[in-house]
Symmetry: C2
Subunit: 356 residues, 2 copies
Amino acid sequence: MITEEQVLERIRRARERRPRVREERITLAHGAGGKATQSLVEAVFVDAFRNPALEGLGDGAVLGVDGARLAFTTDSYVVSPLFFPGGDIGDLAVNGTVNDLAVCGARPLYLSAGFILEEGFPVADLERIVASMAAAATRAGVHIVTGDTKVVGRGKADGCYVSTAGVGVLERPLTLDATAVRPGDAVLVSGPIGEHGVTVMLARGELEIEADLTSDTAPLNDLVAALLDAVPAVRVLRDATRGGVATVLNEIAQSARTAIVVDEAAVPIRPMVAGACELLGIDPLYVACEGRFVAVVDGAHADAALTALRTRSLGEHAAVIGHVQDDPPGLVLARTAFGGTRVVDTLVGDPLPRIC
Amino acid sequence: MITEEQVLERIRRARERRPRVREERITLAHGAGGKATQSLVEAVFVDAFRNPALEGLGDGAVLGVDGARLAFTTDSYVVSPLFFPGGDIGDLAVNGTVNDLAVCGARPLYLSAGFILEEGFPVADLERIVASMAAAATRAGVHIVTGDTKVVGRGKADGCYVSTAGVGVLERPLTLDATAVRPGDAVLVSGPIGEHGVTVMLARGELEIEADLTSDTAPLNDLVAALLDAVPAVRVLRDATRGGVATVLNEIAQSARTAIVVDEAAVPIRPMVAGACELLGIDPLYVACEGRFVAVVDGAHADAALTALRTRSLGEHAAVIGHVQDDPPGLVLARTAFGGTRVVDTLVGDPLPRIC
């Protein structure tokens, strides 16, 4: 048993350090992946759990275990609705964890699955989610090897929440790290952005927009492997989920203390996503993808990277969307179609809650 | 993207096989760890995710990764109330995953932590939970290396749910497996039973019982290591969480196709737990512990096992509570204080919901 004093002492010590969470209560923005999430994670979690693996704050931790180099990651899924065009919470949970491992440079191997079910949830819906998880695991070449099920009373959940964790092995000698990013590097995305977020938003039916869109949820491990096979000079990979491409680029720019300049016209985006974002009043750079990653590679290898990605169907619309430069350090800038430049800040608030 | 047909085909194939879940909707009993959980897990999860590691259905999966022998496990925590005498959801989540790894015979190394927070949840409560997780991790000698935070709207959770997953390494050449259990083996528990479940139940304040009880939540890795150092002939270890000692013994008896006979008078239980169970009308053998394990060892080594456990403070009240015999295979029997014998079946229903 941990004594009350030990716990209070830890809270006291944590409070003495910076940064702090200013809010007294959790808001939806704390779950959006942007500024509020970042301050919550840094102030509450990193500070308390302090260790080198966690401080990397990537999509997963890279660990040495008994001579093996492993990646380990977790995500919880609370998407609403549970079923949406192109996927459901099940394949989302499998692909999300597979992708977090893949962008660590690991080959995803094993997944765990934890379910929090609301009393009264239809067993048939659970079967559908589980079948979709099994199909996604087969497609990604991973096994779901351990799990847990909890049930809470009516009104204490929203049907079904899924938590997945994953273990992968790093078979390549590379280290992917945002601090390795340097001026002259090229920034790529693996495909059109924002489809997942907009699809889920429209599936809620609150907006009277109909669009023939499906989520981009997909396992990225093969596409990542194709890129790493072709281009050894990959600096860092990140999957562009919550907070979208803009949030990922901000995190990279801050870690690397460089500027990232995005050419808006070069960003692949389907007209229907662009149109829906305009109606919703959201910048598509902030909209979650669940089957796209951002890669920063040595500028000299940008073409080779692009070619490698485009040979795969998941990467056929990959594009170089920008470059890294010295100034202003830590900032992401976008060159607009009109020739202007704007700052693309970290996400504030949560324009699309419960998207994943 | 997985096609709709692939998903439907998987559901159809799964339905053709046995066992089935008879209920159309999830009930609290599906989360209790007893019969309903077992049928849900077997019918829905094991069938869909079919693979050898999962079919072991222990407290975690044992995996070979890049030459290393790893254990991997997960649990979600939905305990209500979040704070209770002797612990909170935070140390419960850390100790629970540490213990699942320990009873696989692994040395717990790394944990992940996923949070599902309800909008409006006090940040101070989150800080308290996280500090308690950090203290529990330090005590158990593990690192929390990766995590995730999601926020859902008001009324879509109950404050805070925590999911932990864990990775450990199997440094010993042993294989712990319920199918290795054989007639003549001795059954031990590592300490007094039922304290966690009764403490949480009383902390809800619905019953007007006051008792000076605290949860037994604790990391069991050192105690397990002490046992394994002293007694190589340990057949199987299980931590007695949801469904209590009775459920664990039933799972072992079914896997081993042997009978287990428990001597009720030998089961260590604090008078206050026994008294509260009597008032609640619950058999303490079904009440969750969060810092106790059941061990089955070669009968010839029962004394050595007991001595090894009792040298540690967490094991000072360890006891031999029964033995394994041939008949009737798959059943757990209890010899009562009055000299009678009763069948201790797998738990039906959920007498103590949301205990972990």
